[in-house]
Amino acid sequence: MSGFIPHTEEEIIQMLNVIGVNKIEDLFLDIPENLKTKNFNIPDGLDEIELEKKVKNLAKKNRSDIINFAGGGYYDHFIPAAVDVISSRSEFYTAYTPYQPEASQGTLQAIFEYQTMITGLTGLDYSNASLYDGGTALYEAIAITVRTNNRSKVIIDKGVNPLFRKIVKTYSINLPLKIIEVDLKDVYTDREKIKELLDDETAALVVQNPNFFGIVEDFEDLFIFAKQKNISAILVFYPVSLGILKTPGEMKADIAVAEGQSLGLPLCFGGPYLGIIAVDKKYLRKMPGRIVGETIDKEGRKAYVLTLQAREQHIRREKATSNICSNQALCALRAVVFLSLYGKNGFRELALKNFENAEYLKEKFSDIKNLKIKQGQTFNEFTIEIKEDAFNIVKELIRKGFFGGLPAGLFFEDKKNYLIISVTEKRTKDEIDTFYKILKEILKG
């Protein structure tokens, strides 16, 4: 016996004797012989040295040295070393869901602090212990509103991340839910069109800030308008931007959701990420997922415990608020450590630095004549319009070592010449200058 199975042959025989069977195969007699598989074509195992070589080879087949100017909802932010140290702590990452509070105060308190920080960030009343990712969090937010006001129509601005919108549509394929997506006016939210569409069958209005093209807006007036018609206001936000930008709470959103990847999670080819949701108090009991509450133990000491479990699937089964049975606990832990490290001032400075870098690149771009920057307030991401298909330009940039942005044409057929560029705090002046120079050459501007 080897690897992760500690038994010696002798021990196995002793154990079989205790059970009262002759061989291990006798333990599988309940499986009818004709159902057992005849084939199991899995390659032979490797030793740790061979394994390292194989995985290293696979790792090398990726261009991970590319300098990122692409965002699209997933950003190349710096991650302080302390984040990895905490999340690679065995007691956190090899623990189970904290159903037994006496054996899980560490995870429970960390989530409690996470909930606190998310409410602080968003200006809304409550957060849960996290969901899978931004897109699934958006669906859950919509489901809350549909359940609450028994309406079946949802209005989604096309400034909302197209990946999120796709998830929402997929989730609703077998539900009596009408998803109406509202075209943008160029890259800007069409407020008049949205107002026309908000009627008494509408459960929720969903907009995003900054939107997919990087445009920053204030949706307060639109949300007030919606709420006068008893329509719930859902805002998709970008966590790092809230270091300086108006909060979902200040905009009078009822529910705010986000992809939390920017809070200390590596890009890692799509996951694991973090679904953030925060709600106004009136939706607390409709919110899906785990929630940690503070209470006391038998001796009156402060203690944390999973609470409001009567909403959840293991109690309510088909009547639960959602089928969700996990959270991205370790990712939420990374977020809470990340937010603690930056803290009140550091997080604001982080946001400012992002803004500064993007503004710097914008300024540089102003002398490229074959390039037009989309007007409007932006944060760390903005859209340029060029004369060629942006997809080809990005391909060329990749060859030169830069992931130079996200071609909008991937998601918007009429915007093939638009390139969405993001500049985080991680980009040095040197990288930005070089990127500018190379793009200028390619565009012959």
Partner: protein
Amino acid sequence: MKTIFENSIKGRKGVISGEVNNDLIKKIDEKFLRKEELSLPEVSELDVIRHYINLSKLNFSVDTEFYPLGSCTMKYNPKVCEKLASREEFLNLHPFLSYIDEDSVQGVLEIIYEISRLLCEITGMKKITTQPYAGAHGELTGVLLMAAYHKAKGNNKKYIIIPDSAHGTNPASAAMGGYSIISIPVDKDGNMDVNILKEKINEEVAGIMMTVPSTLGLFEKNIKEIIELAHKYDALMYYDGANLNAILGKLKPGEIGFDIIHINLHKTFSTPHGGGGPGSGVVGVSGKIMDFLPVPEVIKENEKFKLNFNIKNSIGSVASFYGNFQVLLKAFIYIILLGKKGLIKVSEVAVLNANYILAKIKSYYDVPYNRICMHEFVLSARKQLKNGVHAIDIAKYLIDNKIHPPTVYFPLVVEEAIMIEPTETESKQTLDEFIDIMIKIAEISEKEPEKIKQAPLKTPILRVDEAKAARELKLKCDI
């Protein structure tokens, strides 16, 4: 312990960052700016490290304690998987890169392609989608696939059949996907009651969701008959892979007629649970469901890995990209490390360990279904209850003995259920210690039940007032 906010000192910061031009804020119109103060703590890096390391010490974990938590497969997580999956070449990859230049991401696409192929071979399914983030998410994906299949065939289906021993996620996922539930009880041997199934099944049934082995830790003896019955009504068979750890190399759900399966990579394929996530609930399908899978899928053409966005009747996407990629990667490393023999051994020893414990303690506890079990089994604390000792008391007493409790009060069909799953990575010595304590608990329950009921006494906190938590909601720190 104090909260991180209580450690806050005005002016402190835990990161070293460059200069920022504060005047820049003036470039942004007031109406776009946050007015409310940012309520985050102000702490140093050491403050943060000490706080969270000390918090970690309040947790049980697989690396520090035995975790015989039924249905959750808390096996040891090999460190080489963690190490290799944390290479920079993976962590730094922007997922959108794959949408533009597949050449830049051949390694990760190969990993997704290969783990899909391996999981198809392990489960007997035709194709895999790696998108689902967790078991319940896989279930929902499966239910959406069912809906798409029936829609394409013009079938009018309204119900999903689920045994009453199933995980709560099954009915919740079915409802979330737009179906009503028909619940079927288990018979006296712990199998789904086929006679009742025959009465209840009809043309409007979209599918049957089964956990095999069942949540009672038993192999479903009538499985073939159930599958044939389902297919007669064009109902699809869904395999909940929560208990796949019992049957690697023994049985392939796809071969015996299952149409859709989800696999909890964080259980059978040993990726860590992370205190409740992230996991992975990849979904496999048979030939007739292939055309409905989410996009994009990774394909191989002329020795190159590519994305295919054109699946004829695709349901769309259930995740932003390819699911929890790093979790897939850890599971991939685990599978190629263990290989064929290693994987077969996993199930054999998992089943051996469970039966060994069962054989040793069954005379001390009520065993509702006294059969050879698979990788886990269910006891009832009915005997102990006569002296006032509940399953939860036994759980808490185990905590005092540095053992994470088994799953209690599940499955719901067993009164005072205690569900034990030792997994294959635990040694005979660990099992023997657990057995001794379980026997001791049974004995103390007879003579001094109060001793069990008081537990735990050695933990950082004692039993908590859950009613107070729910009644006087406090869901965030005082700041």
